[in-house]
């Protein structure tokens, strides 16, 4: 049952073959069995989950069920959830019980999806390995000695290990797509502005976007239907008509032009990943698509640009964590200023502090133009490259990450090495474009390989169509890690 697709689960719930409570219990049992080894969850509260599931059962019985009512979902611990501990993976919020629901949480509640708990993540979403969490590293279900990627590492690992049929993630520079790739699941980062950021603890506001993580493109489409929509509480939320993201899933791919950015197949790309991506291109050709070579010449600057802009925004966004109104306050201090300095030195981990310092520096007097403004200008060049590319192709395809999962501890002492993991994912965040990752093979160590699609603005339905057709023709997404039962 834990391998079932969301539409299968929905059908079983509708046919009363299983209740929402029973279904939730199946996943809670797997969490109880597997989570101690994987550490994908920060908070699990079976009583709350079963209470919400009972509510879903009432809705189903009353005939008020929506397409996902009764199916449980796990939420990244970046979303404020009323009455739940909401830590953002940080000591700073290790005692923070949120007094309100993020819009994303509200939407899933409205859809009738019980929460299975709050998933582990890199602290404040800063990391690509889930090793910066105050609550300990998450292990990759495919090999517990390896990282699951990050920052939505807990979300990716819990779906890969079938501890949840679906999860929410957030993606600022690849935090949905890279862990999806490293754990062999499907994850989608929507166009910036489609999903409300209200209640999602901010990392870099102009880049952050929430999205679904699940076993297939079809599941992601169903979840996206529940997540998206205009929210008056988020000024960057776009006022658009509601879309059905499942509408084009079954469209044939004949005539589809797939752009292959030559820069994404260059130096730095692992051979096994390159081969798997090439094989995926061949598969899509069989399905009627035409590969087109494109260039995203400025995308090589995406990492430096990102490591100016994201820390700059983060340094300001994280100023509210000062020990005054909520969260951690240092136990001993001499005066107000000392309280601030000690609270923040003790409450934040090393990577978060590093990024705050980078951000404070690039915004400080005398450096703003050379760093921040320059980065914003190159951000435009990167976005312009995409607009140009979409004149000759319908969707862009490439690797999600330069390699497969790496060993725990392997890169945690070298920030620059860690940052290079997001080489292919960051450009879509800078441009605000939708991107997704889906499994396309395994390396010789048996670790999953991710295929990335980047679409034009608001072309989620098309990307999902391509991914779904690929997943109908292949079964990479159906593989489950062994030895976890």
């Amino acid at each position: 049952m834990s391998d079932a697709s969301l539409s299968t689960l929905a059908a079983q719930l509708a046919a009363k073959q299983v209740s929402s409570r029973e279904l939730a219990q199946v996943y809670l049992d797997r969490i109880a069995a597997l989570n101690p080894a994987i550490n994908a969850f920060i908070t699990v509260d079976p009583d709350k989950t079963l209470l919400e599931a009972a509510g879903a059962d009432v809705r189903i019985a009353a005939g008020n069920a929506g397409p996902l009512t009764g199916i449980p979902v796990a939420h990244k611990d970046i979303f404020c959830t009323d009455g739940w501990l909401t830590t953002c993976g940080s000591k700073m919020l290790s005692n923070f019980v949120a007094p309100y629901d993020a819009t994303v949480i509200e939407r899933f509640k409205a859809a009738g999806m019980p929460s299975l708990g709050k998933t582990n993540m890199d602290e404040f979403a800063m990391g690509s390995s889930n090793e910066t969490s105050y609550f300990g590293a998450v292990k990759n279900p495919w090999n517990l000695a390896y990282v699951p990627g990050g920052s939505s590492g807990g979300a990716a690992a819990c779906v890969a290990a079938r501890m949840a049929p679906a999860a929410t993630g957030t993606d600022t520079g690849g935090s949905i797509r890279q862990p999806a790739a490293l754990t062999g699941i499907t994850g989608l980062k929507p166009t910036y502005g489609l999903v409300s950021r209200y209640g999602m603890i901010a990392f870099a506001s102009s880049l952050d976007q929430a999205g679904p993580m699940a076993l297939s493109a079809e599941d992601c489409a169903l979840l996206l239907n529940a997540m998206t929509g205009f929210d008056p509480r988020d000024s960057t939320s776009l006022e658009r008509e509601k879309e059905d993201y499942t509408r084009d899933l079954e469209k044939p791919l004949a005539g589809l032009r797939v752009g292959l950015p030559r820069e994404f197949f260059a130096e730095g790309l692992n051979n096994e990943v390159a081969a798997a991506v090439d094989a995926a291109v061949a598969e899509l050709k069989k399905l009627g698509a035409t590969p087109v070579e494109i260039s995203l010449a400025n995308s090589k600057l995406a990492i430096p640009v990102y490591y100016v802009l994201a820390p700059a925004e983060a340094s300001s966004n994280l100023s509210r964590f000062d020990g005054v109104r909520y969260g951690y306050r240092a136990p001993d201090y001499a005066n107000l200023d000392d309280m601030y300095c000690k609270t923040r030195a003790q409450g934040f981990g090393a990577e978060v502090k590093r990024r705050i310092l980078i951000g404070a520096y690039v915004l400080s007097h005398g450096y703003y133009d050379a760093y921040y403004l320059q980065a914003q200008k190159i951000r435009r060049l990167i976005a312009d490259d995409f607009s140009e590319a979409f004149k000759t192709c319908d969707v862009i395809l490439g690797p999600t990450a330069p390699g497969t999962a790496f060993k725990l501890g392997e890169k945690s002492d070298d920030p620059v090495e860690m940052y290079l993991n997001d080489l292919y994912t960051i450009p879509a965040n800078l441009a605000g474009l939708p991107g997704m990752s889906l499994p396309c093979g395994f390396d010789t160590k048996g670790l999953p390989i991710g295929l990335q699609l980047v679409g034009n603005y608001f072309s989620e339905a098309k990307m999902l169509n391509v991914a779904h057709q690929y997943q109908r023709a292949t079964d990479w997404h159906a593989h489950a890690p062994e030895g976890l039962k």
């Binding site: 102009s206 006022e239 990492i303 430096p304 000062d322 601030y340 320059q374």
Partner: protein, 95 residues
């Protein structure tokens, strides 16, 4: 360019993060590596390029001037480190 430990101390001070001399030295090496990576961006000619601050070229939506919030201070202050008589307490502020 490279950052001195004084630079590190200065920005740590701006960011209100207590940093010992040893931490500043360790951070200095890491930040210099990162700024080495960032430096590749600085040589790019961006004359005439408008900075891009937002992912979408849209304008701010405006909210009607209406009171929509009610008093929730008891709930909010339940998670506060120190409160008294409805006030958040902090070490004495000196002006």
């Amino acid at each position: 360019m490279s950052l001195s430990t004084d630079d590190i101390k200065r920005i740590a001070r701006l960011a209100r993060i207590e940093t010992s001399d040893a931490e500043a030295a360790a951070t200095q090496a890491q930040l210099n590596n990162i700024f080495g990576l960032i430096a590749t961006m600085q040589a790019v000619d961006t004359a005439g390029i408008a900075p891009m601050a937002h992912a979408q070229e849209v304008y701010q939506r405006l909210r009607d001037d209406a009171v929509t919030e009610s008093d929730r201070h008891t709930t909010f202050q339940a998670v506060a480190p120190a409160v008294e008589n409805g006030l958040y307490l902090v070490p004495k502020v000196i002006e």
